[in-house]
Structure formats: C-alpha cells, structure tokens
C-alpha cells in the first residue's frame, strides 16, 4: 500500500513537471496561428511570403528591456528579412494590466518608430501560451522546411541589453548564420532578464 502510494506521488509529480514545462522546445514543430496586425490584417506565418524562417519575438511597448532592444529588433528585420528571416513581433500583454500595451498604443508606437515588421496583437494570449513565452522580449527562431516550421533557437537577442556595442554574443544572428550554413544552432537556448508577460487576471 505504501509502495502504491509512493508511486502515485511519483506519477503525480511527473505529470506536474510536464505541465509546468509545456510549450515549444528546440525541435518542436510550431502550429500556425492567426493574429491581428497593427494594420488590421489577419496574419499567419503562412501568409508571409518567401520565408526560410521567422524571428518570432514576444515583445511589447512598455517594458524597458523591450524598449532597449527595439532598435536592434528593427535592425534584425532590415538585415534578415531580405535573407528570408523576417521578424514577427507579437505583443501578448493584457492591456488591462499594462495599458501601455493596448492595440491602439501598439499602432501608435509602430507608426512613431516606423516598424518595418508585422506587430501582432495576441489578444487571447493563446499564442504566447502555445510557445510558453514568459517574458518580453523573448525570441523563438523558426526554420521553415517546406511549410513545416520548427523551433531552432529560444532566448535572448544578445548578451548585453544595456549597450548593444558591448554585446559580445549576438545569439540570434549567430543562430541564423548556423541555419544558413546548414548547421545545427551552436547555442540553441539562452537566458536573459525581461519583463514578465502580463497575463489576464
């Protein structure tokens, strides 16, 4: 009986661990989604033409880390969209918790800064949950192999949020370079500090 109880506990804790670690891992195939862009259009990964992959970035307006990386996100898109890796920026925050991150404010911010990439509103937060994103900015680099999108890199843009000049490791650029050379990504996962995603209360 004691043994049964112990194994029951073990099963429970395993189940717990797996729910806590839900979401995409390196190599996971990504289910396409449809979200509203700042221009009102519904966008899915498949609607973006000629993509060899996507730099999916969960980001937002209000977070100082996201702001610090804003210019770098623009530069990533300008450099890599022509090479087939466009930025797909997604704001997952609940505007009730973070009013700066409302759809209207997203439109304003994108206009002010001239975002060259799509900036999508994850109103139900389903996509952020699907990816298991936890903070902004949080990058998922996807590779498109004949319509199958797999996760190749999860983490930060580089290793110095305060000053891009001092960033010795440009993780996303390095990962794209690896993919372009047909190699596995050398550093597939990195950590960074960021703002928590503001989940609906």
């Amino acid at each position: 009986m004691k043994k049964l109880f112990a194994s029951l506990i073990a099963v429970c804790s395993i189940a717990f661990a797996s729910t806590a670690q839900n979401g995409y891992k390196i190599g996971s195939e990504v289910k396409d989604f449809q979200l509203k862009n700042i221009d009102g259009q519904m966008i899915s990964l498949a609607t973006i033409p000629d993509a060899k992959g996507y730099i999916v970035i969960f980001t937002c307006n209000h977070c100082p880390y996201a702001k610090a990386y804003e210019e770098r996100i623009i530069q990533l898109h300008l450099k890599y969209a022509p090479q087939g890796f466009p930025v797909v920026a997604i704001n997952p925050n609940d505007p009730k918790v973070s009013p700066e991150d409302s759809y209207n404010k997203m439109q304003l911010r994108a206009k002010e800064k001239g975002y060259p990439f799509v900036y999508l509103y994850d109103e139900t937060q389903a996509v952020a949950k699907q990816f298991a994103a936890v903070r902004t900015p949080h990058v998922y680099l996807l590779q498109n192999t004949e319509g199958r999108n797999t996760v190749q890199y999860i983490g930060a843009i580089d290793n110095n949020w305060e000053n891009h000049m001092l960033a010795e490791q440009k993780y996303v650029e390095q990962a794209i370079k690896n993919l372009q050379e047909g190699q596995p990504v050398t550093k597939p996962e990195t950590k960074a500090v960021g703002c928590t995603i503001k989940w609906k209360e």
């Binding site: 290793n159 960074a192 500090v193």
Partner: protein, 169 residues
C-alpha cells in the same frame, strides 16, 4: 554664578536639538544602494549561519515588483527581531544607480538594497537558478549557505509572502 542660569538652559537647547535630529533621522531613514557583482552577492547570501536570507530580484521600472514592494517593507519590519534578513537586488541599469537611490528615498525603502551588475545574464541566471526564465520579480530563500527555494512570480499580499517564507524555511 548660578548654575540654573547658565548651563541648564544651554543643555535644554542641546536636548531639543538632539530630539529634533533623532526625528529627522527617523523620517529620513532609507536604504542606500551600492553595486554588487555575482561574487559579492554569493558571499552575502551564502553564509554559514542560521539567518534566513529573503532575496527579491526586482527593478524600479517593473510594475509587479513595485506593487509587491510594500509587502516586503511591511514584513521586514514585522520580522525585525527574527533571524531573517531581507535583501533587494535591483536589476536596473548600472547607469541608473542614482535613480534607484532616489526611488528608495521617495518610497522610504529601508531594506538592504544592491544594484546587481553581474555581466552576462545567460551565465548568472543559470548559476543562480537553472529553472529561472529571467523574468522579474523573482524571490529566493537562502540559509546555511544554500538555496532553500525560488519563486518566479509576484506576491499579491503580505500574507502570501509570509506563508511562502514560513513554508519553505
């Protein structure tokens, strides 16, 4: 010469001055932050004694962090005479140390505070806690030179914070 006419009035004046300065000091009481690297941090919290270190990673610009700060303030006062030490580790930009100190003064934060300048986050986050995704607020408990617990979310009440500490010590 009469002692009542000369020394006592002066002493009275001194006494009033002393009382006033005490009140003034009390009203002004707030922590002053300095900068800590990873090694300094570990030396501070990984001490081989019975003190429980409650360490909160936060930043002045982080909404939920600032929201839970009053719980930390209140509880640190409430548990003042217990072997519990509260430490606030700020992840504000290094250049913003003066802003951090302004904030501590304005909000009358009297908890030991350091600005954490530990270099590459991909290294120190994993070193402190491999399961930490890097979002703040995050709270750690340390005692007897080891980590007891870690939580990557915020406390909505003082009661929540208190039961977290009691349940994990």
């Amino acid at each position: 010469m009469n002692i009542h006419n000369t020394i006592l009035p002066r002493m009275r004046y001194l006494l009033i001055l002393l009382c006033f300065s005490c009140f003034w000091a009390k009203a002004q009481k707030h922590a002053v932050a300095d900068t800590y690297n990873l090694e300094q941090f570990q030396q501070r919290v990984l001490q081989d004694n019975d003190t429980l270190y409650v360490v909160n990673f936060w930043a002045t610009w982080c909404g939920p962090c600032v929201k839970e700060l009053p719980h930390f303030k209140a509880l640190s006062q409430e548990l003042n005479n217990k072997p519990i030490k509260f430490i606030m580790m700020s992840l504000d930009a290094q250049a913003n140390l003066p802003l951090l100190n302004d904030f501590l003064q304005k909000k009358k934060v009297n908890i030991e505070t350091h600005l954490f300048a530990a270099g590459d986050p991909n290294i120190w986050i994993n070193q402190l806690e491999p399961s930490w995704q890097g979002s703040i607020p995050a709270t750690f408990l340390y005692q007897k030179g080891r980590k007891l617990s870690f939580k990557e979310s915020y406390f909505s009440t003082k009661k929540d914070l208190k039961s977290y500490i009691i349940n994990h010590r």
